[in-house]
Assembly symmetry: C2
């Protein structure tokens, strides 16, 4: 007997949890295939002004979604970036109109492997085409067009969100005034590809994955997906933070158990990360989105010269990195700044001292808040 599927795609088309638009397309993808129609699930916060000049697009990370500043419909938890986005926050929704869209390939309502393939009426599963960061950005541009916004005030995102920000600036330089890529890189490193491949192998090794067709099999590769999440989670946190937070502390016990059940707090913490993740995320989406990150290499689109991606760019950049981020270390963020300097683009670069690792961009980091707030004030003034 197999477990019942734990992940159930939520209804995201009702107004209380978010919006969704289905556009005719076609959206031609990097792999050569097309999607038509294309559904994009998104949320908005704040009010679009009459000039449509105050719109900011937020791009989410690998396991994020469109619920940037509103409660998550599955977990009931607050949005994933309420510290950054909201009334009076650095991305101030009293002033700005904030849009956040679920990436294509995702599992929160945008077209992806959990959605029905129009050709068969069945979930796409692995028949869904492989998508890239550029394809995600193409879909977002379709949404921005649909909303009638000529020029975004800014595009902002961390991690995979930062990759999308860079791609926006490279693909549509006249459609945004400012770009804030945080804790990211212009290409995925060998080590990062390696960690992603471990996660994918963990999912595909789970017999309940059923070659991707678990939705129609009534199974769910929860164990494999949990292992993938646990492995990935380690990379989101710094060694120092793990040591400070957990060290070798035991979980609800005074002595080692001499059993294989979790003895250490760090083990229980990882288990919790795994089990809560599978309740809200889809295994095939995890495969597709990690692959999109692995494929990301902005320089490759420009014969290996990253600077050429930003030649004559009118965009103003603000690059933010964190000292203890070992997934996207400051050196990789700095390479983006170097490339921008090489073409005399307007760029500022900040390396924030933090021991919180990659996840710092989602946490309480006052220097990041001040940086983004100050940068957006400046950009908004320039735009007037």
């Amino acid at each position: 007997m197999t477990d019942a599927p734990r992940f159930v795609r939520p209804v995201t088309r009702s107004a209380d949890v978010g919006l969704a638009v289905t556009l005719d397309g076609p959206l031609t993808l990097d792999c050569g295939r097309t999607l038509a129609p294309v559904t994009i699930a998104y949320t908005t916060c704040g009010t679009l002004n009459a000039a449509k000049s105050n719109a900011i697009l937020i791009c989410h990370a690998l396991t994020g979604d469109q619920f940037v500043a509103s409660d998550h419909p599955i977990t009931g938890k607050p949005g994933w970036w309420t510290s950054m986005v909201g009334p009076g926050k650095p991305v101030d929704t009293d002033r700005f109109f904030v849009i956040c869209a679920n990436v294509i390939g995702g599992c929160m309502g945008s077209t992806g492997p959990t959605e029905a393939d129009p050709a068969t009426g069945q979930p796409y599963a692995l028949d869904f085409p492989l998508i890239t960061i550029r394809d995600m950005v193409r879909a977002q541009k379709m949404l921005v067009d649909h909303l009638g916004i000529d020029k975004l005030l800014a595009v902002i995102g961390g991690s995979m969100g930062g990759m999308q920000v860079l791609q926006w600036a490279a693909s549509y330089p006249t459609r945004l005034r400012a770009a804030v890529p945080i804790a990211c890189a212009a290409r995925h490193s060998a080590q990062n590809i390696a960690f992603h491949e471990v996660g994918r192998q963990a999912i595909m090794a789970d017999p309940d994955w059923q070659g991707g067709k678990y939705a129609t099999s009534g199974t769910s590769p929860s164990k494999g997906l949990a292992v993938a999440r646990m492995a990935a989670h380690i990379t989101y946190v710094s060694e120092a933070a793990l040591q400070r937070k957990f060290g070798r502390n035991l979980q609800n016990r005074a002595a080692l158990s001499f059993q294989f059940a979790p003895d250490f707090q760090i083990e229980s913490y990882l288990h919790h990360q795994g089990s809560t993740f599978v309740d809200r995320f889809d295994a095939n989406s995890y495969l597709y989105i990690t692959r999109a990150m692995d494929y990301f290499d902005l320089a490759a689109e420009h014969d290996g010269v990253l600077a050429d991606a930003f030649k004559d760019s009118p965009v103003r950049f603000c690059i933010v990195s964190f000292s203890s981020d070992w997934l996207f270390p400051p050196s990789e963020n700095k390479q983006i700044a170097h490339a921008l300097n090489a073409v005399a683009a307007k760029v500022s670069f900040v390396e924030i001292k933090s021991d919180k690792g990659h996840d710092a961009f989602l946490l309480h980091e006052p220097e990041m808040f001040d940086t983004v707030r100050g940068f957006l004030n400046h950009v908004a003034m320039e735009a007037q």
Copy 2:
């Protein structure tokens, strides 16, 4: 239908592949249980002199074994440390008598979960007691006693082998002249426990693991064990080495495939690491040995004061670490040196510049070879 088990325990009791001794015991373990009898599979190289004063014990790492300088009976490959151990090598078998024993809990002939439980005649599987680094060292001491060696010239090992070296010095300070712990720590960090737990979860999530009873079920958790190995392998290599060696190079193709099969060389390399590992290693042994490493905390045996583990120690120490080792970073090796300094022990500490990461201790590192050669020369002279 399930795959046939790929891992088959080799016969290690014939002279051509190694030696084994079965001792009555009992060996009382840290968990309170006892093993009786205890089989220890080992190899020797070189000749024990009449005074029995030239014996060096080599301790192997997590996935190592007793075949330190002789061909491996399953893979046919040369021993795992032929660069360090052999005629004319830093651990010169023309001069020294080298002993290397498979740890208890291992799968190359020493008493472990793959062996028959005398109480049932069936493989122990998870009925095998949890063992610790100190238990491994207790078993090694039984072997050294059996060989009639009063005092080892040196105990040497890297990674988990280094943990055993430290434990030897702490538990039996009068039984060794010198200790060479390489690329190790006096306690396993939260991050390292986390990576091990991911590996264990990957194994236990594999339905072919069968609650550990795969040997009697005719199954083998090869997929789970391969995922565990892949995740662990990333931690053995530095980010710089992965980038230098693989970068984003594609494997036998000119362009991205837009499929989930390996596109990148780093992916193929990881798959290879996983698949060759399951041919030579046992999944339950992997659970037991990783747990032993997680439990290691030498200071904990001494009320949290590491220095007290080495109080009045007559042992001479040579600690070797590698600059790019992020599994056991130089700072953790240095803590051992600090503790030894605090009790005025004889200690030298070397941090070798290398971009090869943790695995540097197994690779061509001339500075390590020179350090170990020089140190052993000195110790051997003192011993005369």
